[in-house]
Subunit: 103 residues, 2 copies
């Protein structure tokens, strides 16, 4: 049975790359065009477009055409579900730690 | 230039799979053997071992041999860094949202 990746699968997969994580951090301080995103990495526009497309497919980033450029911005609340899920696991991990310490 | 994946890269990549996320949730309620993990998924031991190995390589899960079985448990604090990072992005996302609302 072929299972297609869900949005959550795609979101975590998108975060598994240091360039894409840096792009998200950059967009945290405000929207940016593809060229503004590419420049600090010394990356081609084509390379950056691929990263942005993956972030869009994961519903983490949205883009809009402004004149000849394409502005990218964070999708509000895109990180909420993952954050809550990881916070729970983090708490679980701490319980494991305390239980080990008490042995 | 070949870039080898960092632990953070591997951790997010490991989370990009629903079975591995379910395994982590299961381990959140306590350690389990590979067979205990495989059973609810109707998965072969070999299949589950692969998932557990990926989680180990990402430093999210640790295992120890107990008799003939291998017990798996969460690595304490393994999720702390990712959680803090995602919380920050989540806050950034909310600022973006408020800014858009104020336009």
């Amino acid at each position: 049975m072929v299972q297609y990746p869900s949005t959550v699968d795609r979101a975590f997969a998108a975060l598994a790359d240091p360039t894409r994580r840096a792009v998200l951090e950059r967009l945290g301080s405000g929207s940016a065009t593809i060229s503004e995103l590419a420049e600090p990495f010394g990356m081609s526009l084509t390379g950056m477009k691929k990263h942005v497309r993956l972030l869009e497919e994961a519903d983490l980033v949205t883009t809009e055409k402004v004149g000849r450029a394409r502005r990218c911005m964070l999708v509000p609340r895109a990180f909420e579900g993952m954050t809550i899920w990881l916070q729970r696991l983090d708490r679980f991990g701490r319980v494991v730690e305390r239980t080990k310490g008490a042995r």
